[in-house]
Symmetry: C2
Subunit: 212 residues, 2 copies
């Protein structure tokens, strides 16, 4: 498992000529690191002076988001490995026999199914990165101000994970013939991208305004 | 050393209440992963069909950049660990005695020196991330087109590493009283940021145009 490798080994294996891990796994890891930074800021906030002076509804919001971010770390760590296997079903389908008309049809259907499966992993990564960005704003607003740059780096990571994962959705989408499916996924991608970009910009605005 | 930890352990330690590793180390790792993706694309390009059909000057450019990126990976991996120690000299200075006027002056000078040292590590990270971005365009233009999304993710990572590292320069710069130094570093940061943003946008434009 990639996630069990040493950091240095993960970087080395990315740099090597083997196509996995590639941009998909790196995007999921960026999302996970973004979530981890939010968890750290939560740890440096909850129970501290700035937190105690907050209204109860804001405390609850921080507590809830802190809980959610732990689940997102676990999920994104899983996606680091899932992404590397995502393309397997496409590769398997390409190896199917294509001697008869029936075989050709079967193979073509399996390839199409494979591409849909392959893009659903990075689509999940993009959605989870969006979830990380949704949690970040509350930490940018009410978190420990000494850790504001960590919130900023977290937002950059989660957003890059989101946009990077969407590249991988888009490249697989190009091979899919089912127009209705393509349109549906394409519009989902646009929504994720727009919402993610807006959230990242809102968080970074708070960071830059704090940095002065 | 952080770089010798398991990926999962690095994420866990980031997420923990200990302030290190924080956004600085994560930024350096993002730069390193961006460089690693370029190395992978280089490996999937050099000696392949698309490469053989290139003019000699472009082949040379790819070969040179491939060599440079290996050094950048090593350097950025080192910065992952250096960043965690960067703040040590500030912490040490704060612990100095401050009973007499002379001690106060000495302590204050040591703190100022510490902050300068502390910001030079993320400034180095930002410069190395900029170097990664400088190498990426040639791979976006002439690299293996099957790996174009990896070039895109690489550019996102290197750029996020750059902007994230600059947050950490800026927060330390706020504590420095030497106006001339502050102005010099501030203008260097602006240059790095502008050049980095321009390069990232140029690379992503090529990626999106290939993705159609």
């Amino acid at each position: 498992m990639l996630i069990e490798k040493k950091v240095k080994g993960f970087v080395e294996e990315t740099a090597s000529k083997s196509p996995a891990p590639g941009g998909g796994s790196v995007s999921a890891l960026a999302g996970s690191m973004g979530a981890a930074l939010i968890s750290m800021v939560g740890n440096l906030t909850i129970g501290k002076k700035a937190y105690e002076s907050l209204d109860d509804d804001k405390k609850v919001k921080i507590d809830e988001n802190f809980e959610k971010v732990q689940k997102l770390i676990t999920k994104l760590n899983e996606l680091v490995d899932e992404d590397t296997n995502a393309f397997d079903s496409v590769m398997q389908a390409f190896k199917m026999p294509k001697d008869t008309e029936e075989q050709k049809n079967k193979r073509s259907q399996a390839i199409q199914k494979g591409f849909k499966k392959a893009l659903e992993v990075p689509l999940d990564t993009a959605n989870q990165c969006l979830n990380v960005l949704k949690l970040q704003k509350v930490f940018a607003e009410y978190g420990n101000k000494n850790a504001i740059t960590d919130v900023g780096v977290g937002a950059l990571m989660a957003y890059s994970g989101l946009e990077g994962a969407l590249f991988n959705v888009k490249i697989n989408l190009g091979s899919i013939k089912d127009k209705e499916y393509v349109e549906k996924i394409d519009s989902e991608c646009k929504e994720i991208m727009n919402e993610g970009k807006k959230l990242k910009e809102e968080v970074l605005e708070l960071v830059y305004s704090d940095l002065g």
